[in-house]
Amino acid sequence: MSILTQSTVAAGVRPSRAVRRRRVLRKARNLAGLLPFFVYTLIFFGAPTIMVVIKAFQDQQHHWTLANVAESIQTIYFDSFVESLKLSLWSASTGTLVGFAATYALLKTGNTWLRKIVQTAAGVFANTGGIPLAFMFIAALGTYGMVTEWLQRIGIDIYGGRWTLFGFSGLLLVYLYFQIPLMVIVILPALDAQKREWREAATNLGASTRQYWLHVGGPILFAPVAGAFLLLFANAFAAYATARALTSGTLPLVPLQIGSLLSGNVIADKANLGFALGFGMIVIVAIAMFIYNATQKRAAKWLQ
């Protein structure tokens, strides 16, 4: 049927009324089939998100104002954006680095059996977050944790100084538990696609290992690594449960601030401040996604 329509159009003949009607009907049927999806996402996802953005710019009497947004980037709330960004950037860069090293080492061993295990394990660990993860680390490195007690027995008291699992560096250590596997999942196909011939061609042309990575391997891997980094960043930035369970609100992070504003642990006239913080989170993730798209597009052009 599509061949028939094409030939009539090509011959400059207007399609018959029956054909046109069938086309309109098909279009309507397609849209009708997609309607439940569009309506559902609009009600349960679109409307709440738009609400957050609108309310960020309104006071409680529904007058337009910039006061919420202004307050959300001041004092303690500014600190929480800084702290959240710091934690996300640190955990994303460490995760990217360690995950890359792990994947590189995995491919170096050339062991297919090991590779299958790592792939399955990474898929499983990357999905391990939230409350159970926090309790797992409390059992390991908490005040009475197994590892803490082991280390005490050999004379190392990790709680002797100022370090605690329930602060910034502790949280960073816990986040890596889902960040490293995510990096492995994302980067494995890209590292796998590095062609042996490229390396050989470069070597034959007299390139040293350093030169190969600087001028060939590095630029090719830039886009996937940058993409993975931004993915890890967004992942850590949005995390709430693990931070909530471990720090019980002592570390100022944006999601924790929104959580406590939402559960009403705060003066009533600050209710709309939560929306401004939420809006701030949306803006930051949007910027990350924008950079992501830019790096991927450039890479697509470059590899063509």
Partner: protein, 256 residues
């Protein structure tokens, strides 16, 4: 020549050493949690913490609510996503990118922001029911359900089999339930398992909408009984992992 071989072997040892260190980082918390959950008052080990799980008075309510949310999310997810993704592969190809874009948005907007909007935009009657949480889980699961079903349909000549069934006089409902669904089995299972894993682990929305699901319950228990909450964590992780490993096997079979 011997030097080259030695250098290569040294590099291999280095690679294995890195992997062993990373494996240690992943194993230690697991082993610790298991040991911690088996600790008993007099310094010995036993299964008391696991026995205590079944003596909790609110266990029944928590399990019932979590099960209910799981059923709602899985059924609604499939009811919405299977026809949508099939449609996108059949005739509405130009909408594929739009549908994919929308489906991936829940990965972009953090759940903490979404819940903030939900409690403010939804009518009170709906907010009073735990089912709303299930409706939102359908949204949170969309990136995964879309991917799983989309990949399943890629491997299927869906146009041909649907045309054949329609030509033989099957209704659209029959086509979906008796033609598309059975052929899409592995994709549907993948979507189901991922949705279940999500519901069993989701904390942010459940706690802020004040519902006592399994994850929020573990957090509450943890404030008074550390070993019980670690035992619950181990149990829930073990359950989620079995699900996720099953998915990866289903995936491998599909590729084979």
């Amino acid at each position: 020549m011997a030097a080259v071989v030695r250098r290569r072997r040294e590099r291999h040892i280095f690679a294995w050493a890195i992997l062993a260190l990373i494996a240690l980082y992943f194993m230690l918390p697991l082993v610790s949690a298991t040991e911690f959950s088996l600790r008993e008052n007099n310094g010995t080990h036993g299964l008391n913490a696991y026995r205590a799980i079944f003596q909790q008075t609110d266990l029944r309510d928590v399990v019932m609510l979590t099960l209910r949310l799981t059923v709602i999310s899985v059924v609604l997810s499939l009811a919405i996503m299977v026809p949508t993704v099939t449609m996108v592969h059949l005739g509405a190809k130009k909408y594929r990118r739009l549908v994919e874009f929308i489906s991936l948005q829940p990965l972009v907007i953090p759940p903490i922001v979404l819940v903030l909007g939900v409690v403010n935009v939804m009518p009170v009657s709906l907010l009073g029911s735990a089912d709303l949480l299930g409706f939102e889980y359908v949204v949170l699961a969309m990136p995964f359900t879309f991917r799983a079903l989309d990949a399943g349909l890629m491997n299927l000549d869906v146009k041909t089999i649907v045309d054949a069934a329609r030509g033989l006089g099957a209704s659209w409902f029959t086509v979906l339930v008796r033609i598309v669904a059975p052929n899409l089995r592995s994709g549907i299972f993948g979507a189901m398992f991922l949705t279940i894993a999500l519901v069993l682990g989701e904390f942010t929305m459940a706690s802020l909408m004040l519902w006592n699901t399994f994850p929020t319950w573990i957090a509450t228990v943890g404030q008074s009984d550390a070993s019980l909450s670690v035992a619950l964590s181990v149990a829930s992780l073990a359950f989620a992992w079995v699900l996720l490993v099953l998915i990866s096997f289903a995936d491998r079979r599909r590729k084979a």
